[in-house]
Symmetry: C2
Subunit: 240 residues, 2 copies
DNA sequence: CGGGTAATTGAATTCGGTCAATTTGGGTGG
DNA sequence: CCACCCAAATTGACCGAATTCAATTACCCG
């Protein structure tokens, strides 16, 4: 049993976040909430393993989770970091396609897949809104293919910081933005297809150039978003 | 106008392939078919550009299409090769997220996005089946992230040939499978995050080892699926 | 039978990886 | 409160897989 740290609690509709219940009547949200339960998972604990029977769907309520795939010899690719409002375990296969591990302490909403599937079929517009979410994820995955296939180490690191900025950044002042960086170097490396040494060197370089500053021992960073955009090879300069 | 080679024809429901109309009553398929038209596109012609207004949804009826993204300096990442039964242009954004180019001569079914969206909302189960298709694509994209982030050149080439085998392979005899390889070396390279030289060297290596044989000037190949599975770093040896 | 593009092969280069040595910093217990 | 411990991060030196640059060969098409 990999998740020894779980503790289930009753749940109210208030916890159900964006993806699942956005554009949904409160009544329906409450009905869904009643079918599942909240769980707390300690950081570094595994939530589910690739290949396990996927009997549940999860929504992140709080904290950050990493999803990854492994090669037989242990090489690892993190396919994404998910956070509040994101869903996991949706694939219509009967096994999980990723391993899921808590980056920080995490609160999850868990609902049996069979019940979730009933809601998808019964609640008008839910399948559609999940389809939109899946297509957004797909779009993001394709950007990541471009990153892994064609960007240099420094471009990847800049792109990563930029993504964190877009998702979690809080504008501070004078063109600097504060971003949380809860994951370890080895997680960043396995997300960017690099080694921890290369990630470290890249970040040092960005610090030396004044584009990035550590705040509380690296858990938070101050970044210059504009210069990151330049460095990330104009990630989106064409279509944004 | 990038697609000078298009020619529109009347369309019957017979052309509508798997993704769109699988599990759908013939009557509905016919209704959808009446809302769109067939187009023929010559090989190497562009079907739509990344950033263009996405006013249509396409289903490939015949042939193969490549989808790619570009960096400002011209570096290219092919995110996928799509073929009969696959859909393009589904994203709910109002612009295309990829450029789409015909690898072979292609026949497409094209339907205005607004009409398509009406069907998605009206036809029971269509949103659900599109959701499943999107999740399969997502799963595939994540496998490709692992390939680009963590596999060696030879592993990538073996994985690519294996994917082609699974999608298009026809068992010949004695453990060999025949696969079509309609794309150029530079397409394979941009799909695998490599250069044409590295792809060429890898294929030469596989030929020397008797794992791959050219058939009609490289357009078709005979491959040893089992040995490809080994070489691809056990791509799916865990979950299959 | 050429002509031109695509593919292959070879040699030199380089970016990122590997191996190894320090440094940093958060947590713990005296 | 501080010294110690240990994991994580950083830095340095060297190495190697894949790229780059360059030359040759194969192949499709008129």
């Amino acid at each position: 049993m990999y998740v020894s740290a779980w503790s289930a609690n009753p749940v109210s509709a208030d916890y159900l976040a964006s993806t699942l219940c956005r554009n949904m009547e409160r009544q329906v949200a409450t009905r869904i909430a009643q079918q599942g339960a909240l769980l707390k998972v300690q950081s570094d604990h595994i939530i589910f393993h690739e290949g396990d029977e996927s009997d549940s769907v999860y929504e992140i309520v709080k904290g950050m989770v990493k999803l990854y795939k492994l090669l037989p010899d242990g090489r690892r690719q993190i396919t994404g970091f998910v956070s509040a409002g994101d869903l996991m375990g949706l694939a219509h296969k009967d096994t999980f396609t990723h391993t899921s591990e808590a980056v920080t302490e995490v609160v999850l909403f868990r609902i049996p897949k069979a019940r979730f599937d009933r809601f998808v079929d019964e609640v008008p517009g839910l399948a559609r809104s999940l389809l939109n979410a899946a297509q957004d994820e797909l779009h993001f995955a394709h950007d990541q293919l471009l990153l892994l296939g064609r960007k240099t180490a420094l471009e990847r690191i800049a792109s990563f910081l930029l993504t964190m900025t877009e998702r979690f950044g809080e504008l501070v002042e004078g063109g600097t933005t504060s971003i949380p960086v809860p994951m370890r170097r080895c997680d960043i490396a396995d997300y960017l297809g690099l080694t921890i040494e290369t990630v470290s060197r890249g970040l040092s370089r960005l610090k030396k150039d004044g584009i990035v500053k550590d705040l509380n021992g690296g858990r938070t960073m101050l970044v210059d978003q504009d210069r990151l955009i330049d460095l990330s090879a104009g990630d989106d300069c064409v279509d944004m």
